[in-house]
């Protein structure tokens, strides 16, 4: 997804090809679509959350299991994010600054976790680290747990968010070429200096953008984590899994309350992202 990159066009160049009528019609149609597909689901979540009132909402969020789920979700995100950040930087550097064979295959492989079914994403780690899997017995002998414990959840989170930072950086770095780097190097800067002083400032907003989206995705992952979690209440349930558990206990209002917490995370990250874009557009013009 090229578009994970920031909008780097100028906001000033507005061309209005349709007259007022076409324009209003198109905007209206787009708004209807957004309302139907994006706004209403969000409203449904918050409506369900507050159906039984504030008190129940707060109680649902303050439950020890819910707090444990928040903690675990943040932990998994906090581990997955820096790892994928490092990967995104390395992959972006390698892919955009050099020519080599098989680059298209490499980029396709980076995208792959996007399109791997979450069920499979969970299953592959069970096949590797489960008791019947390749490394499971060895791990058990050394009293190490991966699946149905925190490391498994982290692995799944890393896997599903792996492409996001790289995907945000690659188109941006491609656009920028490497003239700035060459100039810095010819002036005697070291490789690390060039990266730190020249490349990083150029891509920082795109990078932040990718990190924000990745963190939202990391907190929301359900399918893959569900396979690897073991669903131990208060110990290996992430927020999305806790939502499912509450839903299965017929505590619909509480389930939506916790879900609204996730939606709120999402909205905050999206607002942050919007702000990042605003900064970028402001810089560009």
């Amino acid at each position: 997804m090229q578009g994970l990159a920031t909008n780097h066009g100028s906001a000033g160049r507005v061309l209005d090809p349709g007259g007022g009528f076409v324009r209003r019609g198109l905007i209206g149609l787009a708004l209807c679509f957004v309302a139907l597909f994006l706004v209403l689901p969000l409203v449904a979540v918050f409506h369900g959350a507050f159906e039984k009132g504030w008190r129940l909402y707060l109680a649902a969020i303050a439950q020890p299991e819910a707090l444990a789920a928040v903690k675990l979700t943040l932990l998994a995100t906090a581990i997955a994010l820096p790892l994928n950040l490092l990967f995104g930087l390395a992959a972006g550097w390698a892919i955009t600054k050099f020519r080599f064979r098989g680059k298209n295959l490499l980029v396709a492989l980076i995208d792959l976790p996007f399109s791997v079914s979450p069920v499979i994403a969970g299953l592959i780690f069970v096949l590797l680290f489960g008791m019947q899997g390749w490394f499971g017995p060895w791990l058990a002998d050394h009293d190490l747990r991966v699946v149905f414990a925190v490391p498994g959840i982290v692995l799944a989170t890393v896997f599903v968010t792996l492409p996001m930072v790289a995907r945000a950086l690659i188109p941006l770095m491609q656009d920028q070429g490497h003239d700035d780097e060459l100039a810095a190097l010819s002036l005697g800067a070291s490789g690390l200096q060039t990266f730190w002083r020249v490349t990083l400032p150029n891509i920082k907003w795109g990078l932040l953008h990718g990190v924000i989206l990745a963190s939202a995705r990391a907190m929301g992952e359900f399918g893959a984590v569900s396979v690897l979690s073991g669903h131990i209440a208060g110990r290996t349930n992430t927020l999305p899994l806790h939502v499912e558990a509450l839903y299965n206990e017929y505590q619909f209002a509480a389930a939506f309350a916790v879900a609204s917490l996730l939606a709120l995370f999402a909205l905050v990250t999206l607002a942050l992202k919007s702000w990042v874009e605003y900064r970028t557009e402001g810089k560009a013009s």
Binding site: L29, A30, V45, L105, S115, P118, L123
Partner: protein
């Protein structure tokens, strides 16, 4: 691009990239393929040839294709409106486009099922026309459209922004109508990005599980999606069969992504050459 000798860090960055990908993507996926290959070719073909698997793959791929087409249409509209027009709430809508990325799929599924059930806010209007959405294929398409939307919009936006306004103005001044300008000048320039976005949306939708199972009826042969067949195979402790279906889906995804990247590289070369 002849920077290989001058710019440092090729070995380090590519090495780390390959190591990381190898450890976290290739090794696990190799486990999948190895497990599936334990069936042998005949067993593999038998699993994929079974009517239930065939039907589920058809449901998944057809629904994902319809959703991708819908996303192509509405994604183009949305990207166009967001880039070309200024109106109140534009920025908020622009931010909301990423919601399907950020909202947990299970939450999305529950919310969509609540909305589109015959008693739901949206479903009741369809119910009056005797149309059922939740628990039918239409429900699957709704969920898949939801998850795929950001891919199309976010792929189109930067391309639309970069389109040269002068070309459009030239077309208009030469007497082309609005529609002609759009269909002959703008659309062709968008096609590669549109195809890319739709393919990504398709690949993502074909494997989607969490949001679909809540809104699909899960009836074998009718509304049972391929990832669910993988789950039911697992429930029968049939790991090899489950991984066979998984490996087949994986191969399709990889081919699609590879095709998209070649398309992108090709357009970049074409544009760079011009």
């Amino acid at each position: 691009m002849a920077g290989r000798r001058v710019i440092p860090g090729f070995g380090l960055s590519l090495g780390f990239t390959l190591f990381y990908l190898g450890l976290l993507v290739l090794l696990p996926l190799a486990a999948l393929v190895v497990k599936a290959s334990s069936l042998g070719f005949a067993g593999f073909a038998q699993v994929l040839g079974s009517p239930q698997v065939q039907a589920a793959l058809r449901v998944s791929f057809v629904s994902a294709a319809i959703a991708a087409l819908g996303n192509g249409l509405f994604g183009l509209l949305l990207a166009w409106v967001l880039v070309r027009y200024r109106f109140i709430g534009r920025r908020a809508i622009d931010a909301l486009v990423d919601l399907p990325f950020a909202l947990p799929t299970a939450v999305a599924g529950i919310a969509l099922a609540t909305l589109y059930a015959p008693q739901g806010w949206i479903g009741q209007w369809f119910a009056r026309a005797d149309i059922q959405i939740a628990y039918t294929r239409a429900g699957i398409v709704v969920a898949l459209t939801f998850v795929g939307l950001p891919f199309v919009v976010r792929t189109l936006q930067p391309v639309l922004l970069d389109l040269d306004a002068e070309v459009e103005q030239a077309a208009r001044s030469l007497g082309a109508s609005r529609w002609q300008t759009f269909s002959r000048v703008i659309l062709p320039a968008l096609v590669p990005a549109l195809i890319t976005g739709m393919t990504l949306a398709f690949a993502r939708a074909a494997g989607e599980y969490g949001s679909v199972v809540f809104i699909a009826g899960n009836m074998p042969g009718q509304t049972e999606i391929a990832p669910l067949v993988i789950m039911t195979r697992l429930e029968q402790f049939d790991y090899a069969g489950a991984t066979a279906v998984g490996a087949a889906m994986l191969a399709v995804s990889l081919l699609l992504l590879l095709a998209v990247n070649l398309l992108q590289a090709w357009t970049r070369r074409k544009l760079g050459g011009a």
